[in-house]
């Protein structure tokens, strides 16, 4: 069965038939492909909605924004992105190299411990450190005691609520994105490349800068890009630390001033930054054909001993300490204090916990189903490329759009659809919105990329002969999926489900904007408390989120980079 496009004239065939694709095996049935198309278009809907609303505002509006809101917010955002970018690049690369190139006692533990800050959402780490580093808090008090001062008026550390403070905090919890990808590159670095550099007169350090680092550039670009997208979309930390970023501007313009058009216009300028970031990442990944087809001996780590080994362990331990251990201990201490003094947890907090779990569950189910549909419809079949694979590319774009922007963009089409539905069904109000369906859809769009990538990778790893055998034995494509592929895809599905579940539990910006009235999750609870400045049960909510966030970190820690030798603890 040939899959080639019959573009050349064949005698006796009507002209309009020439452009129809020749008969060949299809990846999936019509209904399946229609669903996949719908999902891909659904991901584009918020962007379209945003453009629509933004174009609705008048020019005077733009001028006002351009003069008063945008300049400072843009500057802050640019400075934040630049600072965080440099910090995660340096910190992530240095830690990755330390763990790959050197061997010292405790290296195995450090290797996965450096991932722990991933479990700390940005808004929680800001929440924790604002209290920890408070002028009359424990840390500053201890420093004053050491130095012999009595009151904050005599000595205080620089305020955390500043741009440098925000850069350091965000860098401390986002560096694992770079660390993860860089470590994978360095650990599978073919040894002979570094050795060749040594025989040509380069010391180990120079060989790192001239060979290992350029080769790792694609991985560093991907990691930094992810960290910067997280920074751009962050709302909790920026607001708690008093930084007026573009995201905060979007949020306050909509929530405080009810100015949807204005908010949409700021959001559009944020999308321009997203495009710039994605372009930078793509350039960093350019010429990625660095892979070699031959089997490779990987680099042997250099054994350190004595004081060098201790120094390495301490240096590597600092990010773990600051990015995870200290805030986590603070949360545990505060939660214990609260529980021991007050007794039980308030029913409202328990309700918020239930809501978080329900939301996460719903989002996971929806996202996994959507990812499966799209991945299956777009999978490669035979030698000719699948014409539907653009849908998979589009469906995976949601991760790059900041949560606030996504939620805002989804509002207009969702409200219109909801109003129409209500009218048709004769229901009052906005049924889908009140039921939280719109929130689930927004989260699904945002988190689709992860399970999609995992399922696609899982499908390509399965030998194509499996499907051929099943089809020849009379099974339809859908049946093959159910009986052959799904059981074999279980690990990929489980990993994807875990990642989405935890991300949905941590989610803040979209939840704030799209939740039904009176619907509190753990993250919104925390946000409200921090906004009021009352640290009551916030610590318990934060602790629950962090504990949930540990699960994917453990999963990541147990995977090792392909081809890398086992690192003994």
């Amino acid at each position: 069965m040939s899959g080639s496009v019959c573009a050349t004239a064949a005698p006796g065939i009507a002209p309009w038939r020439r452009w129809r694709r020749a008969a060949g095996p299809r990846a999936a049935g019509g209904l399946w492909r229609a669903a996949s198309l719908l999902i891909a278009l659904g991901v584009l809907a918020p962007l379209a909605g945003l453009a629509w609303v933004a174009s609705g505002g008048d020019l005077a509006h733009w001028a006002h924004l351009g003069r008063h809101v945008l300049p400072q917010a843009s500057l802050n955002t640019a400075a934040l992105l630049a600072g965080v970018g440099v910090m995660v690049l340096l910190l992530g690369t240095a830690c990755a190299w330390l763990v790959s190139a050197c061997d010292f006692p405790g290296r195995g533990i450090l290797s996965w411990a450096l991932l722990l800050p991933l479990a700390m959402p940005t808004y929680i780490v800001a929440f924790a450190y604002l209290d920890l580093l408070h002028p009359i808090g424990p840390i500053q008090g201890a420093i004053r005691w050491l130095l012999g001062y009595d009151s904050p008026r005599q000595f205080r550390l620089p305020d955390l609520r500043s741009l440098p403070g925000a850069i350091v905090l965000l860098g401390l919890v986002l560096y694992p994105y770079v660390y993860l990808t860089a470590r994978a590159m360095f650990m599978t670095q073919p040894a002979h490349l570094m050795e060749a550099a040594r025989t040509l007169g380069e010391s180990a350090t120079r060989a790192f800068f001239r060979v290992a680092l350029p080769l790792a550039r694609p991985a560093l670009a991907v990691g930094t890009g992810l960290a910067l997208l997280e920074t751009l979309g962050d709302i909790g930390a920026s607001e708690f630390l008093g930084i007026q970023t573009l995201t905060v501007a979007v949020y306050t313009t909509w929530v405080t001033r009810s100015d949807l058009a204005g908010a949409a216009q700021i959001a559009c300028s944020m999308l321009a930054i997203v495009v710039a970031l994605l372009w930078l990442e793509r350039r960093g990944r350019a010429r990625q054909r660095f892979g070699s087809a031959q089997r490779m001996r990987v680099m042997q780590p250099r054994r350190l001993s004595g004081s060098a080994a201790w120094l390495a362990l301490c240096a590597g331990g600092v990010p773990v300490l600051l990015g995870f251990v200290l805030p986590a201990l603070y949360l545990v201490a505060e939660s214990a204090k609260r529980l021991l003094s007050g007794g039980a947890v308030s029913p409202a907090l328990l309700a918020a916990l239930g809501n978080s779990l329900a939301l996460a569950g719903g989002v996971t189910a929806a996202t996994l189903a959507a990812a499966l549909v799209v991945a299956w419809a777009a999978r490669p079949v035979g030698a000719t490329p699948n014409p539907d694979r653009w849908q998979a590319r589009v469906a995976g774009l949601g991760y790059a759009v900041p949560g606030t922007v996504l939620a805002l963009g989804l509002l207009t089409p969702a409200l219109a659809f909801d109003a129409g539905l209500a009218q048709w069904l004769g229901l009052p109000g906005l049924p889908l919105m009140s039921a939280g369906v719109v929130l689930v859809v927004a989260c699904a769009i945002r988190f689709l990329a992860m399970p999609l990538g995992g399922i696609e990778a899982g499908l390509t790893r399965l030998p194509p002969a499996l499907e051929l055998a099943a089809r020849l034995l009379g099974e339809s494509p859908a049946g093959t999926l159910r009986r052959v592929h799904l059981p074999l895809l279980r690990p990929a599905l489980a990993a994807g489900a875990l990642l989405v579940f935890v991300d949905a539990m941590k989610e803040l910006p979209a939840t704030l904007l799209l939740r039904p009235p009176g619907f509190e999750t753990l993250s919104t609870w925390l946000y409200a408390e921090a906004a009021r400045g009352t640290y009551e049960e916030g610590a318990i909510a934060a602790l629950a989120i962090v504990l949930a966030g540990l699960a994917p970190v453990i999963l990541l820690a147990r995977q090792r980079p392909e081809g890398a030798p086992e690192v003994a603890p």
């Binding site: 002979h192 050795e195 060749a196 040594r198 040509l200 060979v211 080769l215 070699s292």
Partner: protein
């Protein structure tokens, strides 16, 4: 220059294995005069690559010593870093830097030269290996045989005192292998380059080397002059 270009005396080497220390080299001794090509022949796992790595400085020696041009470079008490030994190496896996084109690969070890001198040396070497037009091609755009010739050019560029060849032809097909073997031999002889080749292919050893030694289980036997060659 005093003494032979390369002298190994009772070199022993071990590294940690699944059951304690594994003796990889057991009192290996050999000498090689300047301008001659030596060859270590043996099955895989016999330790011939380990000899090269010890000479290059990638493995510490537990006993004996390695002298280059009469100076001690490796012993249980001394170890000169690989980048200071002026020893070049060709690898089985080519090891061309994938992010640099052929010219920049060849120029990699020529940092101390001025730009003009560097350019001249690169052109000279590319012509020597018969690839003058490949300067701007990247490794993935070159065939296996071409990659190995660029690797040779790169290793020869800084005029090393000794060239180590670690089974450089075993990843190539038979026809390319035979052609390349004689080409490399002619280049090395023409330049008067001292070299040690490691291979499991006896025909290659006979074709290229002046002195051939057999290795087995970490021991070197028969470091002997090669018999008359039929060219």
């Amino acid at each position: 220059m005093s003494g032979p270009a390369l002298l190994l005396q009772d070199v022993s080497l071990s590294y940690p294995g699944p059951r304690g220390q594994h003796l990889a080299l057991d009192r290996v001794s050999l000498t090689l005069d300047a301008g001659r090509i030596g060859c270590l022949l043996g099955p895989s796992g016999c330790g011939k690559t380990t000899v090269l790595r010890a000479i290059a400085g990638f493995e510490p020696v537990r006993g004996g010593g390695v002298w280059l041009d009469g100076q001690l470079h490796s012993s249980p008490l001394t170890h000169v870093a690989p980048e200071q030994r002026r020893v070049g190496m060709m690898f089985q896996e080519y090891a061309l830097f994938p992010h640099l084109d052929a010219a920049h690969n060849v120029a990699f070890g020529l940092r101390r030269l001025g730009a003009a001198a560097r350019r001249a040396r690169v052109s000279e070497l590319l012509a020597l290996v018969g690839l003058p037009d490949c300067a701007e091609r990247y490794p993935h755009e070159l065939s296996g045989g071409q990659q190995q010739r660029i690797a040779l050019a790169r290793a020869l560029a800084p005029a090393p005192r000794l060239l180590l060849l670690d089974e450089p032809f075993s990843n190539l097909d038979l026809a390319t292998r035979e052609r390349l073997t004689s080409q490399v031999r002619d280049i090395l002889r023409g330049a008067g380059q001292t070299a040690i080749l490691v291979t499991h292919n006896e025909a290659e050893a006979r074709a290229m080397a002046d002195v051939v030694g057999t290795m087995h289980n970490g021991r070197l036997t028969h470091w002997l002059e090669n018999g008359p060659r039929i060219d």
